[in-house]
């Protein structure tokens, strides 16, 4: 049977009771047979299982739950996996302890909390490729927030406005300088939009990436086109991102290649691609990573005030042994776009350079945008 792991990412599409890939990491989680937790809660987690009757609660760990912090501290993939393996999902029905999740989500700093569990917390590794993994979970019988939330002004304003749609809210927050990590926390805790409800974390992450980058996309579509071909490169935890910007109107294509035997790939290399113009139809087969990469590039184009056609190639090697979440793609793309770029004289030089960085060139024939760029002529050529 053909393996679909790169699409499924632990959702269980293969029908096995335990995902064989997920099982590889369960040994990392150290059991701490405690029925109590006193410490920080940096964020919230809402599961998607059984939607709409979901379960969720605070994330309990003495850490910021901010990927940007992890990177600033120079953490390795092992360090992050270890922190996450020791992170507890305090679980209950979301409105069991009213207001607490919202308070944690609103706060720009982690809050001190106290939790008591029905049974000692147990290893229960949760990851799906979108959300950063969490190693432990426990059903809470008591929970309280001891601290007072520190709320940024734009967050206070937007979450208080119940006539503001969720998409628009995401847009306003991101324009006010609130990063997507907090916006998705707010959306997940049910603090955005007109009809508010808690949103499973993995959906919220991608929804926010999509909403914020769609807003930026509309904006950059009005900018003048880039006047040269630029090539960017970033590398993070076995993920190589190569990004080619071409002069022209907004078009975006992503090609994702998982090496054979890497995390989600089977015995063969696995390649998946998707593209869009100003409108995007349906959910991307690349899933969350597509929207995270798009955000990274859109932020750059907005900053430079240029429109461009974008090809993002993500190559994942076996070094990426733990699925840390789509934030890896987001930060790898941001890192690539923040770095210096190569100016390429023409398209074939750009693709050759990209292939050299990735290590192979068979992705080129999969790219539809490259084909269009190469074969479609413009009216100017006939003036």
């Amino acid at each position: 049977m053909e393996r679909h792991c790169a699409i499924c990412k632990g959702k269980g599409l293969c029908g096995l009771t335990r995902c064989p890939i997920k099982s590889r990491f369960s040994t990392l989680a150290q059991v701490r047979p405690s029925t109590e937790y006193m410490g920080c809660s940096p964020s919230v987690f809402i599961g998607s299982y059984g939607y709409p009757s979901v379960r969720g609660g605070p994330l309990l760990v003495n850490d910021s739950d901010l990927p940007t912090d992890w990177l600033a501290k120079g953490f390795l993939i092992e360090d992050i996996a270890r922190i996450r393996a020791g992170t507890i999902r305090g679980m209950s029905v979301p409105d069991r302890f009213p207001g607490t999740l919202q308070e944690i989500a609103l706060s720009s700093v982690p809050l001190d909390v106290e939790a008591r569990f029905e049974r000692p917390v147990a290893p229960d590794l949760m990851f799906d490729g979108t959300v950063a993994p969490v190693g432990l979970s426990g059903s809470m019988k008591a929970f309280s927030v001891i601290d007072n939330a520190k709320v940024a002004l734009p967050v206070d304003r937007v979450t208080s406005d119940t006539d503001l749609g969720a998409n628009e809210a995401c847009d306003i927050l991101s324009r006010s300088g609130i990063d997507v990590y907090q916006i998705s926390r707010l959306l997940s805790a049910g603090l955005l939009g007109r009809k508010r409800k808690v949103v499973p974390t993995r959906w919220a992450i991608t929804a926010v990436d999509d909403a914020v980058s769609s807003g930026i996309k509309q904006e950059i579509s009005r900018y003048p086109a880039l006047d040269e071909i630029r090539l960017f490169e970033g590398f993070l935890f076995g993920n190589r991102i190569v990004c080619i910007l071409l002069p022209g109107d907004w078009k975006f294509e992503m090609v994702e290649i998982w090496d054979a035997k890497s995390l989600w790939a089977g015995d063969k290399d696995y390649l998946v691609r998707d593209d869009e113009t100003l409108k995007k139809k349906g959910y991307s087969p690349i899933s969350g990573a597509y929207y995270s990469a798009r955000l990274g590039v859109a932020e750059y184009l907005k900053k430079t005030g240029r429109a461009a056609r974008v090809i993002v190639v993500r190559h994942v090697t076996g070094d990426y042994w733990a699925p840390l979440g789509t934030w890896v793609v987001r930060e790898a793309t941001r890192k690539a776009m923040a770095g210096p770029y190569l100016r390429c004289p023409d398209l074939s030089a750009a693709t050759a350079m990209a292939s050299q960085k990735i290590g192979f060139s068979y992705w080129i024939k999969e790219s539809r945008l490259l084909a269009e760029q190469k074969y479609q002529r413009t009216l100017q050529e006939f003036f």
Partner: protein, 248 residues
């Protein structure tokens, strides 16, 4: 008054559809003879030249002026209009809001500053020797059929057999449609063949399907020109589409 007119809702809708197939905003020129626009899509691949004569309107008076239209927005607004209703347009001198009233609704639509919209493109001076006339709906059907198997289509004229043909090659499938003398009127059956992107043709085809006749001009690896009339002959559309190069 810069512009004051009443028009059949269907005609206006048809005109908006013709423009929105290629662009999301445009500069609309008005003068005493009617309204017109010329725009290229953001990728510089396709161009529309559009003219609606004042005879297409029930009543029409206008001075020479230039309006910036957000076509995408207007298309959404007019999506709810019923057919065969009259619609009144009004734009005061120095006004930036177009007043539109129909079926008891009164819209005030904010116009774009024309200076923020790309300037009218020049018309390329190209010689397209092959000329045929065929039915718009036949043309659209062939485009739709081709889009099932491929993302590009070749249009050509074979002078030896006096046929106009459309060929689409997919990765695995192939489709060919030939039009003989009975279906196509050959104005000039010179040899022609060029390849085009179906992404563009699909949107243009929907508009052309409403035209009884489309005059198609072709060359060899040259743009294609589609010329047809709307609104009972009072509206004229020309689409110019740049070709693709045949893949090596």
């Amino acid at each position: 008054m810069m512009l004051k007119a009443t028009i059949d809702a269907d005609i206006l809708k048809e005109s908006i559809d013709a423009i929105s197939a290629l662009v999301t905003e445009c500069r609309l020129h008005t003068d005493e003879t009617g309204i017109s626009t010329r725009a290229v899509d953001t990728a510089n691949v396709a161009m529309i030249s559009f003219h609606l004569k004042k005879e297409a309107f029930e009543s029409f008076s206008s001075t020479k002026s230039e309006l910036g239209l957000d076509i995408a927005k207007i298309k959404n607004i007019f999506g709810m209009m019923g057919k065969e209703n009259l619609l009144a347009l009004e734009l005061p001198d120095e006004g930036h809001k177009l007043k539109v009233s129909f079926e008891g609704y009164q819209y005030s639509i904010t116009l774009l500053d024309p200076n923020t919209i790309r300037k009218d493109p020049n018309i390329p001076n190209i010689n397209l020797p092959g000329k045929v006339v065929l039915s718009g709906s036949e043309l659209n059907n062939a485009i739709k059929a081709a889009a099932v198997v491929s993302d590009k289509i070749a249009l050509g004229i074979d002078p030896a057999t006096q046929t106009f043909y459309m060929v689409a090659e997919g990765d695995t499938d192939h489709i060919r449609r030939e039009f003989g003398k009975t279906e196509v009127n050959f104005i000039n059956g010179a040899e022609a063949r060029s390849l085009f992107s179906l992404d563009y043709l699909k949107d243009m085809g929907k508009v052309m399907s409403r035209a009884e006749e489309v005059e198609l001009s072709l060359g060899i690896d040259h743009p294609a020109n589609f010329s047809f009339y709307l609104a009972g002959g009072n509206g004229h559309v020309e689409y110019l589409l740049a070709p693709r190069i045949e893949a090596d």
